[in-house]
Subunit: 339 residues, 2 copies
């Protein structure tokens, strides 16, 4: 089984010392995570949050490319409707080049009201802008020849996009998906898939079945490394710590839903295929508990075919050390152990 | 006197091995330049050139931020009309944060026909787009409060731009300028100024006077570090090498003019305030010759008030080593020597 990280640094306005420390601390954590055996870091990107979330994930990944040598560098996700597709293709290609082919490019259509409002993009344009951008980014990466583009939202004339990507034919594209319909769409698109950390294991199991069926239907071979499940992590040592962790998780999720509207896989209107706020009290959608209990949880996911779990960045690096020491060994393959 | 570098890496499509080597070689050169005493690297950014020029300079600077600790990291220039001004403000702020406040943000309105055509932006919109962007970038960096923007080309609603910049009030803005009029405009704007490597020393001297007069008129104190003059460099040891270097320079400039139309400070129609192609055979607009001769050239610039020269990146690092060894010591101040 393979473990990655999912999260970001924080740098709030008006708290300047904390700012660079927030990034510094995050960078040190990723550098250590690489040596602890983590396979990837997927960076969250948001704009105008006011809470200091990373807004320019490809720049932070470029920095990390220089500080690391093996860990894969991902976005989760770059919201394409905010970006000029050709500029973002250039930027992503540059990260791929600088990192020696370690970019995992996660993309999305956006969901936060505050971002749609900020960029003055009507929410209903999210999907068509996303679709146009995906086509154009792929073409930018693949075409050695100059080309034109005349789309609904963008047009370009006589362009060739440099630098070339290192990974061929192009860096893996990842997409988050929560509903059965969107999971099937991702399977057909050839993208890799990110499953969120809000869904319970039961719902995750359903999603895995939808993914397998859709891959079979479209003739896509099942590759375990092309599907990652995100999970929160809190290692607890006592019953009291356990109760606190559950409570903190519920409060955090409720606040996010309040601040940003619908979350992916978590909607207030509780559509049958998604997930409702009250279910956050169900602990089995996160890795909370003693190391033994977390190993069991992961083994259960593994028994359903999950071989790649993204751990939500915990507060400090100590949790990652504990995870590496007490949990990872249970999932070492013979190939890993031989290295 | 202070010396920086000006140039970029190369990664052409269809020549994949050379690509990453081109960036790798450039990165190693910058890392060594820092230890040789160079003060800055200003990165050129271009799009769709087909010759593999850097298209995403802020990503490359983010990488360099991790590999260096003192050298200043500049763009020369980021052409603002190609970019969403808020996204570029976020990206530049991120580089400033990651580098511990080493960003020099050079901006321009664009001049290459192939880029205006590629982005489908009418050339006459270059200046108004530039002006709107500059205002919006400054506001993005300066405002701790949410704000709206309703401009001719862009609108945003209820945004706050993160992360905060490290340099206060904001990273230095640099602008290239060639004509008397544009030099005076830069002096008034509060920007620092880049003078190009096409103009002869005589024309550069005139420009310096225009700068001084405009600063005086606008009440701006003259600070030597706010004006940089770019210069090509070829250290030659024999008369034959000298002749070859002059010839190569003329050919290179003619080709650039042919490929990209007018160059800044170099126009085919030879306006009185600019510079005509045939003058490229005048060697005194570049630092060509023996180390002694180059020292003399630089002393002449210094006698006119120039205290900051950007060296066009030569082919290899050996030239920088020679420059550091044989030329820099003649300009060491007592403060430098004491370090």
């Amino acid at each position: 089984m393979r473990f990655g990280l999912f999260g970001g640094a924080v740098a709030k306005r008006g708290d300047e010392t904390a700012d660079s420390q927030g990034y510094r601390k995050f960078i040190d954590l990723v550098v250590e995570a690489e040596s602890l055996g983590f396979h990837s870091i997927f960076l969250v990107e948001h704009h105008f949050s006011g809470s200091g979330q990373v807004s320019s994930s490809l720049n932070l990944l470029s920095y990390l490319a220089a500080r690391t040598s093996a860990i894969r560098l991902g976005t989760a996700v770059t919201v394409l409707p905010w970006h000029n597709p050709v500029l973002i293709a250039e930027q992503a290609a540059t990260v791929d080049l600088l990192s020696g082919g370690r970019l995992d490019f996660g993309v999305g259509k956006g969901y936060r009201d505050i971002e749609f409002e900020g960029f003055r993009i009507p929410k209903e344009e999210g999907l068509p802008r996303y679709e146009e951008s995906v086509d154009l980014i792929r073409k930018s990466w693949l075409s050695d020849e100059r080309f034109d583009h005349d789309g609904r939202f963008w047009s370009f004339r006589n362009i060739v996009v440099e630098p070339p990507v290192v990974q061929k034919p192009h860096p893996p594209l990842w997409s988050a998906a929560g509903t059965d319909e969107s999971i099937a769409r991702v399977a057909k698109s050839g993208f890799n898939i990110l499953l969120d950390h809000f869904a319970t294991d039961a719902r995750t199991r359903e999603r895995l079945k939808v993914w397998r069926d859709a891959c079979a239907e479209t003739g896509r071979p099942l590759r375990a490394e092309e599907l990652a499940v995100a999970r929160g992590l809190t290692i607890t040592r006592t019953e009291e710590e356990y109760e606190d962790a559950i409570r903190a998780r519920v409060e955090r999720s409720a606040k996010m839903a309040e601040d940003y509207g619908a979350l992916p896989g978590l909607r207030r209107d509780a559509q049958p295929e998604t997930f409702a706020v009250q279910d956050m009290s169900n602990p089995d959608s996160a890795l909370i508990g003693t190391p033994d209990r977390i190993v069991e949880r992961l083994q259960r996911l593994q028994s359903w075919g999950v071989e790649y779990v993204l751990i939500l960045l915990p507060g400090g690096v100590e949790t990652l050390r504990e995870f590496s020491r007490e949990i990872m060994p249970a999932f070492e393959t013979q190939a890993d152990a031989a290295q």
